[in-house]
Symmetry: C2
DNA sequence: AATATAAACTTGTTTAGACAAGTTGTCAAT
DNA sequence: ATTGACAACTTGTCTAAACAAGTTTATATT
């Protein structure tokens, strides 16, 4: 059972997606939302604030909440969304080929190093996967998960969805991630796994994922074929 | 004069940056903030919510607001930040070379086309600039600004900062932007302006910027040398 | 007809209070 | 020494109310 503002957010978001509220029109006013959902104004405003933040609406003082053009669901970088979740929303067929699985193994992972100290080897589960999208291998994912947080990862979880295992089965509360995108020449592993020529480029997304108690527990290096990579973002100007 | 919650946000943010509140420690509790700033709890919570959203803190129920590692200021993609603003925060020397300026000119810009209709030529100001960072030309920016919104752009504004001109002098209220990052081979214009070899790759950021009344008025194509490009992002998991 | 005014809407900000729920330390009973 | 209950903290959610400020419409005045 979610809270009221989240329920209102979901409902409005769905109705925008289904064009019950069409692009270029206004949502019901805040007072109308109070009556429609039986909530207080601040609760409705919390839902509207989330919609604005995520690019569904633009609030205009004195007028209302205007439905604006919204980015379609895009590929695997925007926000924290698991592969499986994305594939479902995008209606593409994806396969997941685990070609390396080591557990436990001690590796010096920069992301898990304490501040200022040197990078010591820590026990992790190391997983390497190739993502096959519509029959074509496009992405290599290398995951390093702290053994101290997740002692054991069944191989079926790696082949299916790590996030579903962490959240659904272990009850971990995944809160946030920092990501960095760079462009780098393909290495021999890239070329081998994805069948690329020499001189090919890769979009590399490195990310550190943390739980609600702020412990960083997962480091991921996601290497995308440059010609297939696309990242979309919605940003608001802060003053 | 900003509102109270924004003032509290700014103050806390600065104190985190200056390590008055250190990484790994907790901010004053919400009730303490009420007393410290003479505000109500909800006002303080609004400031804390913004800090959490922007990756400064992690709120932990029952414990407090933990200061977490925050991305340093990064390259010109995250959020809507003007070049000049970024250069100042990053302490790098930047130059701005305007090598093409056409106004007004009728161009068919996809971003300004009405929904579903064909792409008709519209009057815009077209500006092409090379960004020179620490003495090296790294980025080409191509801007197309709707003449119907901004009738006239002085050349000094293009050489200095378009944002400063739009916001400071014209009083435009810039609200949000959608961005798309792709990787593409360098074209002849890229190679010529930036002095690149054949086979070089570019990170291309295409963005559409809109005002507070939701009118899209600026389309920008920003082409970065691949080896200099870096994009950092902070994302929260939504449930 | 044109203009100014006022009323009725809209969103933006802030307050004070209540209750729920997670965390921590104290203190008493075992 | 261990356990259990409780109190005192923390954040999370929600409400009702007030006032400010921008937009629109209707009305009265000129």
């Amino acid at each position: 059972m979610l809270n009221k503002s989240a329920l209102v957010y979901d409902d409005l978001m769905q109705k925008i997606d289904q064009e019950v509220y069409e692009l270029g029109t206004y949502l019901p006013s805040e007072n109308q939302l109070c009556q429609l959902y039986g909530i207080s104004r601040e609760t409705g405003r919390k839902a509207l604030g989330l919609l604005a933040e995520n690019g569904y609406i633009q609030k205009i003082r004195g007028k209302g909440s205007l439905v604006i053009e919204h980015r379609q669901y895009e590929f695997p970088v925007s926000g924290i969304v698991s592969y499986k979740e994305l594939a479902q929303k995008m209606h593409v067929t994806t396969e997941n080929l685990v070609y390396s699985f080591e557990s436990p193994v001690a590796l010096p992972v920069q992301a898990f190093a304490s501040l200022g100290g040197e990078v010591k080897p820590v026990p992790v589960t190391a997983i390497k996967r190739v993502r096959i999208i519509d029959g074509e291998p496009d992405i290599i994912d290398k995951d390093y998960i702290l053994t101290s947080v997740v002692p054991d990862i069944p191989k079926r979880a790696a082949a299916d969805s790590l996030y579903a295992y962490f959240e659904g089965e272990l009850g971990l509360d995944i809160a946030y991630a920092t990501k960095e995108i760079t462009m780098e020449p393909a290495n021999s592993e890239d070329r081998e796994q994805l069948g690329l020529d020499k001189g090919a480029y890769m979009a590399v997304v490195r990310s550190v994922t943390s739980l609600a108690d702020a412990t960083a527990f997962q480091y991921t290096e996601s290497r995308h074929r440059a010609d297939k990579f696309r990242f979309r973002d919605f940003a608001r100007r802060t003053k």
